[in-house]
């Protein structure tokens, strides 16, 4: 299982901040589960400028998710 965290506009779009996805083996698998349950969110997280962090480290491409992995989808950032 993986714990998915959403930030910024992605959270408002989905209407939730945190959700557990059971039985996902890798990021592609997680993405297809999200696409099945939340097609709008799946499209948004594939959009330009959205970064992915697994266990608080940025990743690119597909990677295997260990049990209990934390997967955060990070839309374009803007501080100060």
């Amino acid at each position: 299982m993986a714990c998915v965290l959403l930030f910024g506009a992605l959270r408002d779009l989905a209407g939730w901040r945190e959700q557990i996805f059971d039985g996902v083996s890798d990021l592609d698998h997680l993405h297809s589960d999200i696409a099945r349950l939340y097609p709008d969110l799946a499209e948004a997280i594939s959009g330009p400028g959205v970064q992915v962090a697994v266990n608080k480290a940025l990743v690119r491409g597909n990677i295997i998710l260990s049990a209990g992995a934390e997967v955060a989808f990070l839309p374009p950032m803007s501080g100060g």
Partner: protein
């Protein structure tokens, strides 16, 4: 070196005084305070969100890079999260170096990266509702100043 992400309102003057103490090797201290703008009554409140456990290490790595690149003796970053009212400080950066140019450039570098690269998300609440703010093109443009070939001074 000090990095703080906090919800509490802070006094930028007090932060600068605290930072400036105990830096006998510093020839100059530079600070920048970013303030939430009212923007002609368009902004009633800003709401800043961070990713706890991710945002702080990200800023610490940025400060480390700035220290090495500009030979800084010290650096301090304070960034607010949560609701922020117009007139309140949202970000504070201070740098100390042996010479002024390094301190100015270190603070400038830190702010350019905090503005459009640091893991924060900013929502503007106004009379017409709320909207998420993304960096302006000019903010991204500012970043290229630190990657483009340095022009001779």
């Amino acid at each position: 070196m000090s990095v703080t992400v906090q919800t509490d309102v802070f006094d930028a003057g007090a932060a600068l005084s605290a930072f400036s103490l105990g830096l006998p090797d510093a020839g100059g201290v530079v600070s920048f305070t970013g303030i939430a703008r009212n923007d002609g009554d368009k902004t009633e409140m800003l709401e800043l969100e961070a990713y706890p456990g991710f945002t702080e290490p990200w800023i610490e790595a940025l400060v480390k890079e700035a220290r090495a690149r500009f030979d800084l003796i010290g650096a301090m970053v304070i960034h607010r999260v949560g609701p922020i009212l117009p007139g309140e400080a949202i970000v504070f950066v201070a740098t100390a170096a042996a010479h002024r140019r390094q301190a100015f450039e270190g603070a400038d570098f830190l702010m350019d990266h905090l503005k459009s690269r640091a893991p924060f998300w900013k929502k503007e609440h106004g009379p017409g509702g709320a909207r998420w703010i993304e960096p302006r093109q000019a903010d991204y443009q500012d970043l290229t100043r630190w990657t483009a070939e340095q022009t001779p001074r």
